[in-house]
Amino acid sequence: MNEPVLTTTSAAAPVSSDFSALFGVPAEVGAVVREFRSCEFSTVARDGTPVTWPTFPFFEPERRRFLITSSVGLAQKAFNIQRDARVAMLFSNAMGSGLASPPTVLIQGDAEVPAGLGQFDERFESMTRLLFERQPIGITLLGALPGPLRHLVDWYCWRVLIYVRPRRIRWWYESDRGGTSDEVVL
């Protein structure tokens, strides 16, 4: 992806890392994106059916996009995106977030899958830290496998990268069910 990176320099104002400030949505919406442990990620299958599975999104504020990774052994969502880039992320499961009565947030966007796999770089380190904070058991089990057995789970760690650029953000509160949502179109 050859896109400009919003960097912080001595001559420029710092770029906000806050989702709500970046996209002009209420702070409660930003809190949902920051604190929810999972989202329901929808891609479009070959026959036009939207296929949805839970996933762990990682927001990259400096590029105003989400990063989702998927094992090369579970790459169907990447194949779907290569055919049809239109995706959606629903934040509707507050379990573990610590938020009381948060809004439901639906982000529709365009996704892309760069060639190659994720590398063990600085970004990987920050993602691993966040994942360990939020899902300590899984990563502990993987890391605790004896050396000779680790090759059996290597495939799970070889990750396809998926970038999602938000196009429309909608949100609504429990009391609005059946009513209308608020939205920002980007």
């Binding site: 059916t49 949805t52 052994g73 590398q119 502990t140 495939w155």
Partner: protein, 153 residues
């Protein structure tokens, strides 16, 4: 039959997510309370206004994780969204197993490993070496930070 499997599975969840497509072709998803209607073999779906949804292919997902993003379980169902005089209804056609249980775990690891090999071979990709030392170092560092935080409290 998919209907029976879905009814049985849906009972294990408090809610479900339905995904359909809007008039621009983007997926739209909404969480709802799934109450199977045996007579029509559909699930009534209350959808908020203003989502520009039309009848068509649809999917439901039920999933659960605990506060530590663990105890994962899920299933999906392919089907269609229909507009009836009683409102929107999801008519399932195919049950799609997800996470949860030993069988699902074996299916994940055996199938995933096979598909991963195929993916890499087809693209001529040499996968990166997994830095287990780095992963375990991060783990130790976070544990130390937590321990230090607890000690301060």
């Amino acid at each position: 039959m998919a209907w029976r499997e879905i009814v049985r599975a849906v009972r294990r969840y408090d809610s479900a997510v339905i995904a359909v497509r809007d008039k621009h072709g983007y997926p739209v998803s909404v969480r709802f309370l799934p109450v199977p209607d045996e007579r029509s073999q559909t699930l009534p779906v209350p959808l908020p206004d203003g989502l520009s949804i039309a009848p068509g292919p649809a999917w439901i997902l039920c999933h659960y994780h605990d506060e530590h993003l663990w105890s994962l379980r899920s299933f999906g169902a392919r089907g269609s969204l229909e507009l009836t005089p009683d409102g929107w209804r999801f008519r399932p056609t195919t049950f799609v197993p997800g996470m949860g249980g030993v069988v699902a775990m074996i299916r994940l690891f055996v199938g995933g490993r096979r598909r991963a090999r195929r993916y890499l071979t087809a693209r001529g990709i040499v996968p990166p070496e997994i830095r287990w030392d780095q992963i375990n170092a991060i783990k130790r560092q976070i544990k130390a930070e937590h321990a230090a935080g607890s000690a301060r409290r």
